[in-house]
């Protein structure tokens, strides 16, 4: 019974098609003609800094703000003019927005009662939802008797108990401490797989986005900067904003060497051909992709090697962080796992070292004109 019902919920998941969605606040473009297709049943994260428009986009999907123009379709149905209470999407709010004058069970039953679900079925589904979020037996508790993590779970249960076709989450984990947040990330991912519902998740935390998403839509200044899988976003950022926002990176300008290849500090850094453009190209250096060339067997055919001076070396628990100077006051950051002591080579400020980068790991992006 329970199983067939959850499967039923999965089959009603809907894709979301957003076209030309525009929302202005005065002169500010909170959303600037956004086009985004969210696939049926996928976990898509809207990732961006504060003020990027990610929450505005989520609120537009929920129906809490009125866009200036554009189209939002759930499956084939245009919903842009539908009031929020008729959209049938579940939402978890950043503040949880639990009703303090109702018990836990009262909160979860709220959407069911509005849909005319019978008393008996209501109780069953509330218990089922409480079980799913591991809060069995807490139905009679008041909201003020719950911990932050428990409130989060109640908000979640309330959002999916009425089997919405779409689930929206607005930074639902931001109020939790780090450990609980990391556990909830895994639980949410698990729950998403169990429910199979199309999920749109808003966060400004890139690690959270990488952990949980099927795809990430990076958003900045009301525009989508890149929409792709976490691996693709991390390994092949489309532009400087994405490269900078996701993960640690150092960006340096590239020039042409004698053979016409793109190079940095006299070292060829890629075998691929890049056309000449007016702006030119930049190299994105991920700290963990650099290694000490002294300690590893280096194949000069595949590796660019730089002579550097160590500026700073910091032990940070599971990793160590080393800042090196490559000359001309250009600094690069390296990150090593501290699993093996020799990896860091016991570097001290002022030491000379050789740093390698595999050419196949080089991330080359179009350089952006400085504003």
């Amino acid at each position: 019974m329970t199983n067939s019902e959850s499967n039923g919920a999965a089959s009603t998941a809907l894709p979301i098609h957003i076209q030309g969605l525009t929302k202005r606040y005065g002169k500010l473009h909170a959303l600037d003609a956004v086009d985004l297709d969210i696939r049926s049943g996928e976990f898509l994260t809207l990732l961006g800094p504060s003020g990027s428009g990610k929450t505005t986009l989520l609120m537009a999907i929920a129906g809490f703000n009125r866009p200036d123009a554009g189209s939002i379709r759930f499956g084939d149905e245009e919903v842009i003019l539908k009031p929020p209470h008729k959209r049938d999407v579940g939402m978890v709010f950043q503040s949880y927005a639990l009703f303090p004058h109702m018990s836990v069970a009262g909160n979860i039953a709220f959407p069911l009662k509005l849909r005319g679900v019978s008393e008996k079925e209501c109780a069953e589904r509330v218990n089922e939802a409480l079980e799913t979020v591991q809060l069995s037996g807490l139905g009679e508790r008041g909201i003020d008797q719950l911990s932050g993590g428990q409130r989060q779970r109640v908000a979640l249960a309330r959002a999916f108990v009425f089997r919405p076709r779409i689930l929206l989450m607005d930074e639902p984990l931001s109020a939790l401490d780090k450990k609980l947040r990391e556990r909830m990330q895994i639980e949410l991912k698990h729950l998403h797989r169990q429910l199979g519902v199309t999920t749109v998740y808003v966060t400004h935390d890139q690690r959270e986005a990488l952990t949980m998403s099927d795809r990430i839509a990076v958003i900045n200044h009301g525009r989508l900067a890149q929409v792709d899988t976490p691996e693709a976003i991390y390994n092949h950022p489309a532009n400087a904003f994405v490269a900078d926002f996701i993960g640690e990176s150092t960006m340096v300008p590239l020039s042409r060497d004698a053979s016409g290849s793109l190079s940095f500090a006299g070292q060829r850094i890629t075998d691929k051909a890049y056309e000449d453009t007016a702006e030119g190209w930049s190299l994105v250096v991920r700290p963990e992709r650099l290694f000490l060339a002294d300690t590893a067997g280096v194949d000069p055919e595949k590796t660019a090697v730089f002579d550097v001076t160590v500026r700073e070396s910091v032990f940070q628990g599971e990793t160590a962080f080393v800042l090196v100077d490559i000359g001309d006051d250009t600094e690069l950051a390296l990150r090593f796992g501290t699993g093996s002591a020799e990896a860091t080579g016991g570097l001290k400020p002022g030491d000379r070292a050789r740093v390698g980068l595999l050419r196949e790991d080089a991330i080359v992006i179009p350089r952006e004109r400085q504003p």
Binding site: F64, G90, Q94, A97, L98, F99, F110, F162
Partner: protein
């Protein structure tokens, strides 16, 4: 194991006595700040009320007697006075809720800057003298007052309608004067309702009317109860407005007390009325406190 407290076991009570004494001094210092206010309360409230209480039990012969209270039970006019007092108070509170709730809701929805300006409109009359406002109503409402003249002029009614020196006038005046006492706690309760609450209700499928009834109203109830209670209790002992706008036809306990003192100079009877009113007020507070949890609006608890 390195245990600092074990290492310094002998010094565990070091300075303890002096630290305690310092704390004690600070507590007394704080208490002394409240001393003037406490003294005033004792002088102007506890002693006079105690004196009233005592007087109410002294008969005409100067001996202890219950004759003032007995009269209150025997004479119908007293019962009528109390009935009128409660009637006026309940009606005024009701009118204030009807007018004040939408007003507070409107204020709570406004952006802070505009809310400040509109709040000023609520508070401005609040800062004007009570007597001035009451006589202003008399000017507006009397037979040849502005309201009657205007209504006749535009043809709403033909001959002057009696708007003052009766219950109508009293209620108009009192509702006007009491409105801020309801709006302020209600507004503060509404401001505390997270905007996401209404979003969440809508998101879960509640129409605006349902969301209001099932979420907003219950959450603003504490402020409404607090405000209503303040208005109701202030109404119970109100004097100026019913005396001026009631024109002798609306006899409330306060006007009755004045009448007894002016006509009969009977301190005992007047005191007894005062005591009964005080007890009735405390009773109302007690009952309300049992039924509702008060929040910050009334008692400053978070």
């Amino acid at each position: 194991m390195n245990r600092p407290d074990a290492a310094e076991g002998g010094n565990r009570d070091r300075n303890a006595g002096m630290l305690r004494a310092q704390e004690r001094r600070e507590e007394w210092g704080l208490l002394s700040l409240a001393a003037p206010a406490l003294l005033v309360i004792v002088l102007v409230i506890l002693i006079p009320v105690g004196w009233l209480f005592y007087l109410s039990f002294i008969g005409g012969d100067g001996q202890f007697s219950l004759e003032h209270y007995r009269k209150m039970v025997e004479y119908k006019s007293y019962a009528r006075t109390f009935a009128t007092t409660f009637e006026v108070s309940i009606l005024t509170t009701g009118i204030c809720i009807l007018l004040g709730y939408p007003l507070a809701y409107f204020l709570a929805l406004l952006p802070p800057r505009w809310a400040g300006i509109f709040m000023l409109a609520v508070l401005l009359p609040f800062w004007t003298s009570l007597l001035v406002r009451t006589y202003a109503w008399l000017v507006l409402l009397q037979r040849k007052g502005m309201l009657n003249e205007f209504a006749i002029h535009i043809g709403l009614w033909d001959s002057p309608v009696k708007l003052v020196h009766n219950m109508t006038g009293t209620l108009i005046g009192m509702a006007h004067i009491m409105l801020p006492f309801l709006v302020l706690p209600l507004y503060s309760a509404m401001k505390k309702i997270d905007r996401d609450m209404m979003h969440a209700a809508a998101n879960l499928g509640a129409s605006p009317a349902t969301a209001f009834r099932q979420v907003y109203l219950p959450l603003s109830l504490s402020g409404m109860v607090a405000g209503s209670l303040i208005v109701f209790i202030l109404c119970l002992g109100f004097y100026v407005t019913p005396a001026v706008l009631g024109g002798g036809r609306v006899i409330m306990v306060s006007t009755q007390i004045t009448a007894i003192l002016e006509n009969q100079f009977d301190w005992g009877a007047a005191s007894a009325l005062g005591v009964v009113l005080l007890v009735a007020t405390l009773l109302v507070l007690y009952i309300a406190a049992r039924f509702f949890k008060f929040d910050a609006a009334l008692f400053g608890k978070g």
